[in-house]
């Protein structure tokens, strides 16, 4: 028996004992190929998946290294079948190669003829390839580069893309490191991406993904198209780029519902691209409007399906994906892998936190009890309205008030899904509200005021969820959320995880109605946060007021 920190399970999960003296070394050894699934306090769970192993292959690790890492750090003997499976899976990547042929253009080639035969026999592949050039290669229609990669991944034979990229229209972009410097992991992330060609950089919210994007643009020195989730986020990108690079505001264009500018660096929203009119996407031309040298996808995990289809046609351009998580609620992780590229950089949240860049958050679930009248109403209501009833109980408003009082003086956000409830809270606390109907200008004004400290309390609805930089929020109170999705949770927490000036810990409260669907969803949230390694407490609303008084 070896006294390693790792236990390899037969279901391909790896358990890492965190308190073991050599845990850090073991983590370093397995991180390149295993996906961190859960990181609660004592035992972290990694999983071996084909995608993860292929990601590792793409990053230059081979099966021998993987097997060696498992054998070295494993406490018990590693199941033989698992080792065989690892070698076999990793052997599948790169058996097929997409290459540029001087005469025939794009070709799919293989040194392993049976594999080529197998995939060519698949019905899905048939329409994407052209003439057979020789025993080991076949011509590929350039337009099918992305679709082919996608189809091959589904068949279990992911192709390595060596066909290269167009340089794009050159445009000078430099980092302006004045008063700030690129953090080491940001530099590493940008370099890993650039060396890999295309791919995804995974960094937690607040770890400076925008800066990684800027650094990558400095590598590319070419016109860049940046795709972001919404207008506010687009403006933030613009501000950040102006601040961090040699780019001037005139060089950066915004392409959104309101403005349609095409400049050397253009920031477009997913929404405008996916707007459909009479069955066509009128703004699709944007993708070809310039000879882009780099395309940046912000929040890759939210990339809408139509963008995937468009991206399939952009395979000759360098693509950088930025995200906090590769986990997609719709399970399209494989499409990110084949269309944008394999993961090029990853850093576990907690590790970055330990490096002092992100303030730790204290997560508290506050349980309120529905008053008898509401309980009866809840019990007899329709299933569709139950969540709303549970979420919007008046009991929660008292708790919000208590919490705000408790954290008086600290910038506080109240987040919710239901406008009525938010309005009510805002009125009670005399705080401004940002909701769907709030004009962009007004939103920006409020955000700026919040950031500068003019306003200490802001009530925001779901619209504020994505990509809005609120660097000084220290307390977030969630009164209702849309069905406890993991993504939403990551977003909300991300809001609080932005670097704090004095290293104070941030507080994240969720208010939950006991014994209702609200509590059931809260369990998902609790699991996710605990799995991410955050301390999670549950307290009773009654105890809370006792605590604050």
């Amino acid at each position: 028996m070896n006294d390693g920190p790792l236990i390899v399970q037969s279901d391909k999960t790896l358990l890492l004992e965190v308190d073991h003296p050599s845990a850090a070394e073991a983590r370093k050894a397995i991180a390149p190929f295993a996906e961190l699934e859960r990181s609660p306090e004592h035992i972290h769970t990694y999983r071996l998946t084909p995608l993860g192993l292929w990601n590792a292959r793409a990053a230059g690790h081979d099966a021998e290294q993987v097997v060696d890492a498992l054998l070295t750090w494993s406490r018990y003997a590693v199941p033989h079948a698992l080792l065989v499976d690892v070698a076999e899976t990793m052997g599948r990547y790169g058996r097929l190669r997409l290459e540029k042929h001087p005469v025939h253009g794009l070709v799919l080639s293989s040194t392993d003829r049976p594999v080529l035969e197998e995939v060519l026999r698949a019905k899905k592949i048939a329409g994407m390839v052209g003439a057979r050039l020789d025993d080991d290669s076949v011509a590929v229609h350039p337009s099918e580069r992305g679709n082919l990669k996608q189809a091959l991944l589904k068949l279990g034979w992911p192709a390595e893309d060596f066909a290269g990229y167009v340089d794009g229209e050159a445009h000078a972009i430099d980092l302006a490191e004045e008063g700030w410097t690129l953090r080491p992991y940001q530099r590493e992330a940008a370099e890993s991406f650039w060396d890999g060609g295309s791919g995804v950089v995974v960094l937690p919210c607040g770890a400076g993904k925008t800066i990684v994007g800027a650094a990558s643009m400095a590598h590319a020195q070419a016109t860049t198209l940046i795709l972001v989730t919404n207008t506010v986020s687009a403006r933030q990108w613009k501000d950040e780029l102006v601040k961090r690079t040699s780019l001037t505001p005139d060089e950066i264009g915004e392409y959104s519902g309101a403005v349609k500018e095409i400049r050397p660096v253009t920031i477009a929203t997913y929404q405008v691209l996916t707007t459909k009119r009479k069955g066509v996407y009128p703004h699709l031309d944007l993708l070809d409007a310039r000879d882009w040298g780099l395309i940046v996808y912000d929040e890759v995990h939210l990339l809408p399906a139509p963008i995937f289809r468009m991206t399939a046609d952009l395979q000759a351009r360098r693509r950088l994906g930025l995200t906090a998580t590769l986990v997609r609620e719709d399970g399209r992780e494989g499409e990110v892998f084949s269309l944008i590229g394999p993961k090029r950089y990853d850093a576990p949240w907690k590790d970055i936190e330990a490096q002092g860049y992100i303030a730790p958050a204290d997560c508290v679930e506050v349980r309120v009890t529905l008053p008898d009248g509401e309980r009866l109403a809840y019990a007899t209501s329709d299933p569709d309205t139950r969540y709303r009833l549970a979420s919007c109980t008046h009991a929660k408003i008292d708790v919000v008030r208590d919490l705000v009082k408790q954290h008086a003086g600290q910038p506080t956000l109240v987040i919710g899904q239901y406008i009525d409830q938010l309005d009510e809270i805002a009125e009670l606390l005399d705080a401004p509200v940002i909701k769907g109907e709030t004009p962009v200008k007004e939103r920006q004004r409020l955000f700026n005021a919040f950031r500068s400290g003019e306003i200490g309390l802001l009530v925001v609805s779901k619209v504020a969820n994505f990509s809005i930089d609120l660097p000084s929020a220290e307390v977030a109170i969630q009164v209702s959320g849309s069905f406890g999705s993991r993504q939403e949770e990551a977003q909300r927490l991300g809001r609080l995880l932005r670097p704090k000036t004095e290293g104070r810990s941030a507080h994240f409260y969720t208010i939950v109605s006991r014994d209702t669907v609200d509590a059931d969803f809260a369990q998902n949230r609790q699991r996710f946060l605990a799995e991410q390694g955050y301390a999670y407490r549950i307290i009773d609303a009654g105890d809370l007021s006792a605590e604050s008084s």
Partner: protein, 755 residues
């Protein structure tokens, strides 16, 4: 029968056996166990049994290539000295001498007055094994000296030499056609005549000629074979850390114990049914494979080993249908330490004749083999497994079978050790190797110390040897805020059982990950736990403080775990008169209604209302229909068990018994011999078995005997004969009176005496 033959050489095999020391006799009976059952009366009967066809075949099957070659050389040389035999075997003289000694020990050859000779039946038994024997004929009775033969061959014309080579290369037999049989070398007109004249070919019946053994030897340079017969195929090995071997094996051993336990725990609740043909359905095997995270061949092996160990057997479900169920022995087994459990499984595997490697393949008729099918066994399996381990044990410490070439080289070695085994034997050996790896007997292609002890038959020792390498059972788990508990090793059985009740297993392997959910905790409450007990238990098994969210979950579940019990019944009975209700429930005539008293004033019935009502009225009650309501029992499926197969004894006990038996048999033979010796030498009629023994003695000794014989007319007469063969109830012997070989029915022989 004379008792004077104490001196070597003996006149008969029986005489020789009589002269052997006890230890040697015991060794013989041990090596050829079929001779000892049933116990022979005396040495002559033992000798006679040793010469029977079936026993000879059995003994020959156990010989390696060298031993077979030496035996073959003995047949070619005829009765001769050991030096001579050894000299014509192309092998190291020491090896050949050892092989010859073994043949003598096995009573396949014996030391007759004129030299060592093979038992008479051996020649027949050895025939028809091309590649195993040299293919040479026995030498002529008085062969010419090798130099003389070489000179004669040298004199041959090229055509004759070519013909001789041709005959030698094609079975040593030919037809002469027109060639004259008796010519002098000078007169020889054709190559055939040339060879005949020089006695390089010898005429036989009809017009066939054969190449006598001495000529064949001369053509092969004085040896029976052109290739050496003692070059044992080498094992292809490569260096590997011995510690890794031990670890890999222990890992596999732990896995196999864990999986068998999991399998049978599962089957105890949801037993798969027994196919009409007796096996396990393919669907059920697939389910096992899924459940245990193994492939189907792996699942088949586990199921078969569990059965071979007696942990699973055919039983009946409550509804009477046959199902595969864990036996009561499984309960005993589960309570033992892991190393002992492993040793039991390995013991079961070693002693079993089952062939799990065939599961999923098709038989000759195209039918797929099912796991646990009764006919899925082979008499060769046990030997294949023992031999595979025995050879694997030869791989030195610090080395393992080389990847790729190792296993074929081992199979080849086994082919050398048992040349007479059919080709399927190689498959069985290869399968045995992979099974040994799965069972943790071997690891990374070599035997760790524990595996060597298994190969040597010392299972308790093997269990002790593997124990330090197995994961230590842990008593504590790590509780985490995401509501999981991780046991970083195999849990103590009792803790595991409780945790299993309170949490769902999420991942298995060296460690086990449990997840607490409100459902799983509720299961605990269903089984009678209270919130306090759950919390106490969690505190006691956790290495770390119980996370607050988990405590909250326990309390939440406890709060909602109602005291109300819900269910359904066909009807309920309510009465204010408690006595009347009790009387009704206990009335024997109401038994079919399925009445059950829930409270003094409430009972339920399992019969529908339209049956219940008329019956209650018949019983004198005047029921009023009210509504349908009732209570239900919370129950969990019972663990089912089949009876263990009886008559299984631990492997050690069998051996001890055998040893004792063999000793007893040897003593019995001795007693028989003494009785025989003290009896006055008579020529009177003897028992049929005595007659047979005497006849075999005569065959072995080539001696002449007088037999009493009842002829076709019922008249008894005496014949003087030289017995030649004894087979199928008939004696073929040279009848001195008739001057011809005659056949005699053994049952008509009334007596035998020395002439």
């Amino acid at each position: 029968m004379s008792s004077s033959g104490r001196a070597t050489p003996a006149r008969t095999l029986a005489e020789q056996l009589r002269a052997w020391p006890d230890e040697r006799l015991v060794a013989l009976l041990r090596a050829r166990p079929d001779l000892a059952t049933p116990a022979p009366q005396d040495s002559s009967q033992l000798a006679s049994r040793a010469a029977t066809r079936s026993s000879l075949h059995r003994a020959l099957d156990g010989l390696d290539r060298l031993e077979l070659s030496v035996l073959d050389a003995l047949l070619v040389a005829g009765q001769t000295t050991s030096e001579e035999v050894i000299s014509i075997v192309r092998a190291d003289p020491d090896h050949a001498a050892r092989a010859l000694q073994r043949l003598l020990d096995l009573a396949l050859a014996w030391e007759a007055p004129g030299g060592i000779r093979a038992l008479s039946g051996v020649a027949d038994a050895m025939r028809g094994m091309p590649g195993v024997t040299s293919g040479l004929r026995p030498s002529s009775p008085d062969p010419a000296a090798p130099a003389e033969i070489a000179a004669r061959i040298a004199e041959l014309s090229p055509a004759a030499a070519a013909l001789l080579d041709h005959v030698a290369a094609h079975g040593g037999e030919g037809t002469t056609g027109a060639a004259r049989r008796t010519v002098s070398p000078a007169e020889a007109a054709s190559p055939a005549e040339e060879l005949l004249s020089r006695r390089l070919l010898v005429p036989r019946e009809g017009d066939t000629v054969v190449l006598p053994g001495e000529v064949g030897l001369a053509l092969r340079g004085g040896r029976t074979t052109t290739e050496p017969v003692d070059d044992v195929p080498p094992l292809a090995t490569s260096p590997r850390d011995a510690a890794l071997v031990a670890r890999t094996a222990a890992g596999a051993a732990f896995d196999v114990v864990r999986r068998v336990e999991l399998l049978l725990d599962h089957w105890g609740v949801e037993p798969p049914s027994v196919l009409r043909s007796g096996g396990l359905a393919v669907r059920d095997l697939k389910a096992v494979a899924r459940e245990l995270h193994v492939d189907e061949p792996g699942a088949a092996l586990l199921v078969e080993v569990a059965q071979a160990t007696g942990l699973v057997a055919e039983g009946t479900e409550p509804d009477g249908s046959p199902a595969w169920l864990p036996t009561d022995e499984f309960d005993v087994w589960s309570g033992r330490p892991i190393s002992e459990r492993w040793a039991r499984l390995v013991g079961g595997w070693l002693a079993s004749s089952r062939v799990p490697s065939l599961v999923g393949r098709r038989d000759a008729a195209g039918k797929t083999w099912n796991a646990l099918a009764p006919e899925l066994s082979s008499g060769l399996t046990e030997e294949a497994r023992r031999l595979a381990l025995q050879v694997l044990a030869e791989v030195p410490d610090g080395e393992v079978l080389a990847a790729g070439t190792g296993i074929p080289s081992l199979v080849q070695r086994v082919g050398w050790l048992r040349p007479r085994r059919p080709t399927i034997f190689s498959d069985l050996v290869a399968a045995a190797l992979s099974e040994a790896a799965v069972l943790g007997v071997s690891g990374a292609g070599a035997l760790p110390p524990s595996g060597r002890l298994v190969a040597a038959g010392d299972l308790p020792g093997a269990a002790e040897a593997i124990d330090p390498h197995l994961p230590r059972p842990v008593e504590k788990v790590l509780l985490q805020a995401d509501l999981t508990a991780v046991a970083p090793g195999p849990l103590e059985t009792e803790v595991a059982r409780r945790l299993h009740l309170l949490a769902d297993v999420e991942s298995r392997g060296g460690a086990t990950v449990y997840r607490f959910t409100s459902g799983s905790l509720r299961r605990g409450f269903d089984a009678g736990w209270s919130a306090l007990e759950v919390r106490d238990f969690l505190t006691s098994v956790s290495q770390t403080p119980v996370p607050q969210p988990l405590e909250f979950l326990v309390d939440d579940v406890a709060r909602t775990f109602g005291s109300v019990r819900v269910g359904h019944a066909e009807a309920f009975l309510r009465a204010d008169d408690e006595a009347a209700l009790a009387a009704l429930v206990h009335d024997p005539r109401a038994r079919t209604l399925g009445l059950r008293l829930l409270a003094p004033t409430v009972a339920i019935a399992t019969s529908p209302l339209d049956v219940l009502l008329p019956r209650l009225r018949e019983l004198g009650a005047a029921p009023v229909v009210e509504a349908a309501d009732g209570t239900v029992r919370v129950s969990r499926p019972d663990l089912q068990r089949a009876r263990s197969r009886r008559g299984r004894r631990p492997a050690g006990a069998v051996e001890a018994r055998q040893a004792a038996q063999v000793q007893a048999v040897a003593t019995a033979i001795r007693a028989g011999d003494r009785a025989e010796a003290s009896r006055p030498p008579t020529v009177a009629t003897i028992s049929p078995s005595g007659a047979l023994a005497a006849l075999r003695d005569a065959i072995e000794g080539g001696s002449t005997v007088v037999i009493g014989y009842v002829d076709n007319h019922g008249a008894t007469g005496e014949r003087v004969v030289d017995p030649r063969r004894l087979d199928g109830g008939r004696l073929s012997a040279y009848d001195h009176r008739a001057d011809a070989v005659r056949e005699f029915a053994v049952h008509r022989i009334t007596g035998v005496r020395q002439a």
